[in-house]
Subunit: 122 residues, 2 copies
DNA sequence: TTGACAAATGCAACTCTGTTGCATTAACTT
DNA sequence: AAGTTAATGCAACAGAGTTGCATTTGTCAA
């Protein structure tokens, strides 16, 4: 942990650790009773150091999750909002090579999420 | 075009047609001098009929583009904001099959964008 | 252990995206 | 040309995210 070891930082990491789905800032504020400004600032520093990642389900608010083992991808149920973690690293690696070849870009990050209806809701 | 053939709808389609990159609502408002409520409503109806698609570069505002040939994917330069269209349909198809097998989800849509630095900016 | 300094936090005010209800305008029908 | 109703504008609002500044708290040196 960068900087001071505060109660709030520990609580933030514990909350994300105990959740099986990425959490939004409003959820974190409600759960931790900490000012949203503080949440945003701590998230930014954890993201910079790499231990937390931002995920965007394109619903108007970003979500956050612990990433001890690096970047994840998800399938999100549009009905019950369940989130399933995917194991698609190899094919994504191949996809990135393809994108680099086509665009000439130096890739920094990507945003890959899938949306649909889970088996329970179908 | 669904509904009435209005000046605003024609102007909206023309603006998107003349732009080589997806446009945000604030850009469309500035360019067309039309109320943002109207823009949002017309975009929604064009999106429903399929002729316009929403793309999300995760920077706090959605963008819109004509999609006469269906869904696109992009590489976005984090420096100069250039947008390159990608041809990655076949590998995406394979990726989706993989996701369906892993998650059991009925897939409805996905969000796949790449971010990096273009050749000019590197 | 205490005191000082700097980092962390809270608070209020703000910006921006996107939404809603309602009154007005304009496109289509006959 | 007149009536119907979709389309538009406007004002007010909700929610995410940001900023400046005052206050609190963790850390470290004495």
């Amino acid at each position: 942990m960068t900087g001071r070891n505060t109660k709030t930082k520990r609580a933030l990491l514990a909350a994300l650790n105990s959740s099986n789905i990425p959490m939004s800032v409003s959820e974190l504020v409600k759960k931790l009773h900490v000012n949203k400004t503080t949440i945003y600032r701590e998230l930014a520093s954890f993201i910079e150091e790499g231990s937390i990642s931002e995920v965007d389900f394109s619903d108007g608010q970003k979500r956050y999750e612990l990433t001890p083992d690096g970047h994840h991808h998800h399938a999100v149920c549009m009905d019950c909002k369940a989130v399933v973690e995917l194991e698609i690293e190899p094919i994504i690696k191949k996809l990135e090579q393809n994108v680099i070849k086509q665009s000439g870009f130096m890739l920094r990050k990507h945003q890959i999420e899938f949306f649909g209806v889970c088996r329970d809701c179908a």
